[in-house]
Amino acid sequence: MTAAGNPSAGCPRGLAPAEQAHASDISAFVRRSPEGNTLQLTVRGAKCAGCLSKIEKSVQALPGVTQARLNLSNGRFDVRWRGDLSANDVAGTVSALGYGVAPFAPDAADSAAKSEERKLLIAMAVAAFAAANVMLLSVSIWSGHGEMGETTRRVMHAISGAIALPAALFSGRIFFQSAWSVLRRGHANMDVPISLAVLLALGVSVTETIRGGEHAYFDAAVMLLFFLLIGRFLDARLRRRTHAAAQDLAALQARTVTRLEGTEARSVRADEIIAGDIVLVAPGERLTVDIDVLDGVSEADESLVSGESLPRAVAPGARLFAGSINLTQPLRGRAISAASDSLLADIARMLEAGEQRRSKYRRIADKAVSLYIPLVHTTAALTLIGWLLAGAGVREAIMIAVSTLIITCPCALALAAPVVQVVAAGRLFRKGVFLRSGDALERIAECDHVVFDKTGTLTLGEPELVRSPHDQDKLQRAARLARASRHPLSRALVAAAGAGSVAAHVKEHPGLGLEAEINGVRCRLGSAEWVGEEASAATTSLQLWYVEGDSSPHRFLFEDALRPGAGDVVETLRRRGIGVEILSGDRQDAVATIASALSVTDWRAGASPADKVERLEQLRAEGRKVLMIGDGLNDAASLSLAHASLAPGGAMDVSQSASDGVYTGAGLGAILTMIDASSLARRRMVQNFSLAAIYNFIAVPIAVAGFATPLVAAIAMSGSSIIVTLNALRPGWKRF
């Protein structure tokens, strides 16, 4: 951590800690064109004006840079330059200032979502303009009731219509298109009654204006669209923001691969790799494609792929999957398949199956709509027939039926869920929890059984030395060797020993251990076989042996430490009557230790991805609603299969995209926050739908009885929307 000691690094106001520099070749992310080169980076830790000008000025000072603009809201940094400046120098400049930086490849989905959001915002603005101006005219008609001459009123209605008609057709096309496309397929959604109400209101108002009638519903039609578009806009913005957050997390993971072209090594984007390419994997690098090892002997950390916490020895002929980390020596390998296929075709298929099942989930809003549509349309039809039978004129009966449709139009219903979701997601966002979908809140709130993966989820996924008083002296001696190695156990040993000297000429024997001569004495650090301790070789727990010359070997024990707060989370869940279970791909004894530390009785070890899926199917068959929390590639299928799922920020991107939410930070406290926020959000949504229902119970009889004038409709509609919004914003979110 060189950055930590440098006071000028990072945010000058101390709003975010300085990030450690990390080097990887990103030149593959530069887009080249005749006008110059463009690179998009995502920058973490920039919080204030100081950060902004520091970053932009230092990059602008680089030779040839024509534009450097940082978006402080989402951390995207756009750099354009001419000439042969290297992309790594740009990233290096930013990271030397103490900010985290990663290349970012903009995708089509993001720009589509952005233009969708803009379309909604403009439609909303047009509806707002029309609603305000038509309301101005309507209020004068209402207040001039009885005094205003018929000609004046007619002119007022005509002007209202001239504003409302084009505005409603422009803003309403979003609903009309959606309603038309579902109607053609013989279904109905919320947009059908909306479109019907808007079009009927406009039609009736036009005929009334031509006939010189007293009531026109131009204001109701545009106000309705305005309120509904607020809900749609909030929904779209939430979806785009969660999408962007997930993308930023994915960008942090290594996405470049060093490909050998002849004798020249070139850094390319992972998606450019095709089967048969020869790739180089440096020590410490995470694989992004599946390879067959051709050359080199090393060890691989496969904890994200299989959940196994001990590194595996790798030799030519071995197969390594994307997600593993190469630990000790450089490897040369042949890509088995393109990167897009390498994340295991099986897992991709299982993911799809899970997604399909999940899309069948019926949200509260869907249930409300399926009850609501037939009810409202039947009521309107019965009103029409009833008034005709009662002897009213056709015109009068139609007016009353249409006013019933307008007054029951689902303004409050359309706002009830999105407003709550936006408030909850915003709160969680600030806590470092990103929701991937709006209905995730509803599903998380319903869960009654939590299944945890072990490695990397309950535990840190990194070994930690079990300290004993006898270790101190040996620890310092062993650390002289360990400092030369990248093996996780060596690193854990060094972390415990602290800074110190490194022995000269340390040789690393993959799968065995380290060796060096210190003051003429041969010292070895490694496995039991390596130091000649045959008797204990059978134990599989995490251990390192250290021996000097012919003296008796000393054993260091390690454990995969629990994440902070793991005990609290499990205890709290159990107290609430939620079942807790551990489902891990790791060894029996490793899982047993963690399970007993958390006093979880229900655990399974050595589970393959298929075993995990099977277990989840079994739980589903028992009628349990499972919340699955896991990070590995081996969890991806079960994450997408579970009723709801969460993944930590360090998880594989397949796992993140398979889950409903991603939480960041080392602790597990975010899980409880998420569950609490979900159940509060669910309560508020149910309350909101109840409020909307109560509103209809009061408003419908008034409309059916024929008392609903445009004034009553305007007050009722805006009143119910405001009540629903206020209920969503009501305090109670403070705890999150």
Partner: protein, 54 residues
């Protein structure tokens, strides 16, 4: 009442000016980076960057 023939068009024109400028602002991307816009005003171009925060 004759004033209405003058006042209503004026009111509508004013509203329309607001609407058109809002749509222009959205299209120009003025709402893409609200945090950045708030911060940029504090950057003093004549002085070294670090002073902006002190």
């Amino acid at each position: 009442m004759e004033m209405l023939a003058f006042l209503i068009p004026v009111a509508l024109m004013l509203g329309l000016v607001g609407l058109v400028s809002f749509i222009w602002a959205v299209r120009e991307g003025q709402f893409d980076d609200p945090d950045g816009a708030a911060a940029r005003i504090l950057i003093d171009e004549d002085h070294p960057a670090e002073q902006a925060c002190k």
